[in-house]
Symmetry: C2
Subunit: 412 residues, 2 copies
Amino acid sequence: MAVNSPLPVAADLKPVAGIRLGHAEAGIRKANRKDVLVMELAPTATVSGVFTTNRFCAAPVQVCKAHLEGLHMSSGPIRALVVNTGNANAGTGDAGLAAANKTCSALADLLGCEAAQILPFSTGVILEPLPVDRLIAGLPQAITNLKEDNWFLAAESIMTTDTQPKAASATVQVGSHTVTMTGISKGAGMIKPNMATMLGYLAMDAKVAQPVLDHLIKQAADKSFNCITIDGDTSTNDSFILIATGVGSLEVNDIDTPEYAILAKAVIDLSQKLAHMIIRDGEGATKFISIAVEQGRDLDECRKIAYSIAHSPLVKTAFFASDPNLGRILAAIGYAGVNDLDVSKLDLYLDDVLVAKNGGRNPEYREEDGQRVMKQSEITIRVKLGRGDVETTVWTCDLSHDYVTINADYRS
Amino acid sequence: MAVNSPLPVAADLKPVAGIRLGHAEAGIRKANRKDVLVMELAPTATVSGVFTTNRFCAAPVQVCKAHLEGLHMSSGPIRALVVNTGNANAGTGDAGLAAANKTCSALADLLGCEAAQILPFSTGVILEPLPVDRLIAGLPQAITNLKEDNWFLAAESIMTTDTQPKAASATVQVGSHTVTMTGISKGAGMIKPNMATMLGYLAMDAKVAQPVLDHLIKQAADKSFNCITIDGDTSTNDSFILIATGVGSLEVNDIDTPEYAILAKAVIDLSQKLAHMIIRDGEGATKFISIAVEQGRDLDECRKIAYSIAHSPLVKTAFFASDPNLGRILAAIGYAGVNDLDVSKLDLYLDDVLVAKNGGRNPEYREEDGQRVMKQSEITIRVKLGRGDVETTVWTCDLSHDYVTINADYRS
């Protein structure tokens, strides 16, 4: 069960003018499962994407990048996205690339556009050939299902080991314009996005110039999907896509405007919400843990320390057990790779409880106080480095028996 | 149960002339448990140590370093080592440092030497005050127990979550001289040594000049304890100590000699054996996994990739399940941080089975072959990078339910 993350309500997910969504059951890996999603965009839409930095980046990621680069060249706007689950089409070499391209061509034929105007995405098992014929055979069904009011089923269609769909909406008032935005995400394991996350799609009905959208997606990713981790495994298929359908009345052509600032905040907030949903539904997660590293010299050292804590199996199992074995956090800070760290300046808090002071146990720290916080389902670890004024926050979950069960059973 | 690692037989562990070992039950954390070990050295002994790089390095580690540095200055030779389990004396600030120094003084008084001639070690829970009075009260009992033929009980005395003691002996013929060496180690979790490991002690009866011993310990650590990982957590207390008692007939004063080469090989082999024992007894381990990365450009990239595989919770749970979900290995290679890696040159083997060829699935790979190897308790993952001639091997274990159970229960 996801941690404090109620199931999204279909009726709460707002249609975004200029994007229609349709799902299909194509039998990619298993029968009778929604496993294909098509998102069709208005011709006015601008689209930006950020992708995994994994060197084994999947074939569809390579095709997406090429097609988005084409945007800046001669080809027409992106007209549709197609996602399949059940197979990642990664580690599949030239055959995988051909399969991704074939999918784009097939969908382009059905929609009457060019293959370069399609973005393909895959998620699932790595190193297995994509059953591209079954995928293509499912496309007409997805197109039949296309409608604006289909975000809930769309979120369901991209799930793998997720226990529940992840989706959220927001509206933001920018001057006289009301902007509607809805996003979906998926992912529960192999989560340590690096530039982007498993799969995340966020659409809004504003008209946003391409360079502005390209700037915004990086801002949003860096404050959301790039700050979460479940198991430290950066996927081969991470993708986060931001869509401005251009159908609404707001138009943003410049980042140095009050309109951009308001819109950007709303996009970042919604991206963060979608990213948190991934952690709350982390494989086997029983706790949602925020790790704030403050008073650092630069962002790099703050992130190193936050991720070192977030990835430590010993820290994560202690949280699972609600055991305030907090020396494990100090050990993780100590091996984070900040080689000139002076631990005698460091303070460690668990929520409001000062556990370690000047690098040693706080004489006033009482085990009962640590125990009280550890029993909560939402916990903040706060590390004050005492050497600068930079801070960052990373979100993660605990490591439970269910993580092992899920990942020992996922494929078999 | 440790993986293919039979319990050492006390009678097989050879006494090393010039070192006597004595244990005590001091009630450091729990009653009726061997938790203190004293090792007394001949005045002719030379001693070298390598220690954790964790910035939160424990108080005893700081004292050890200072006393070993003193060796090169004016103070006399190291006369004894004292180890306690049940408490790491780490994250304990100035009080922890005072406790470590007090321990050295107390033992020095009992043995009639200076505090600077004692090396202290602690292992156990971090962030809790060392019960130094109980430790000191246990020293006379340890001294009463001192004898050369006590390696098995010594190995038992330094255990924490280890399921069995770790010890091994060897003799090596160097010209007309027979050198006897015996070592012990401990550690089962918080294992990703960086310069050294949890606790490892190796003594031999040769006479080895200090600079030669300092050189040898780095060679041995880099090929043994520095190549193992269980959970990626570098401890605050890692220490590996090499002792040459100087009582035997062999004398080595120069590394550019055939004698050094023969002795070094024997020390490295025994260090590797002791390091492997730690992995075989890794918390919850059911498999012993060797990860060989070959054809790299430099050692750094080979190690990055090997550790990336070795630390991936997804890879480790797949091995636990004997599930050949081998795309997870490709993903771990891809995010290892070798940014110019050309995956189209990469081959992946599981033992003798070629799984991926030129970065994609080997067309001739059959799932049954992968399955066959995955079921074994000893497995080699071999990655050929196709970009150089450097290679390295790292050893690890799988991630099982028992790892979670042990670490969720360790302290409580």
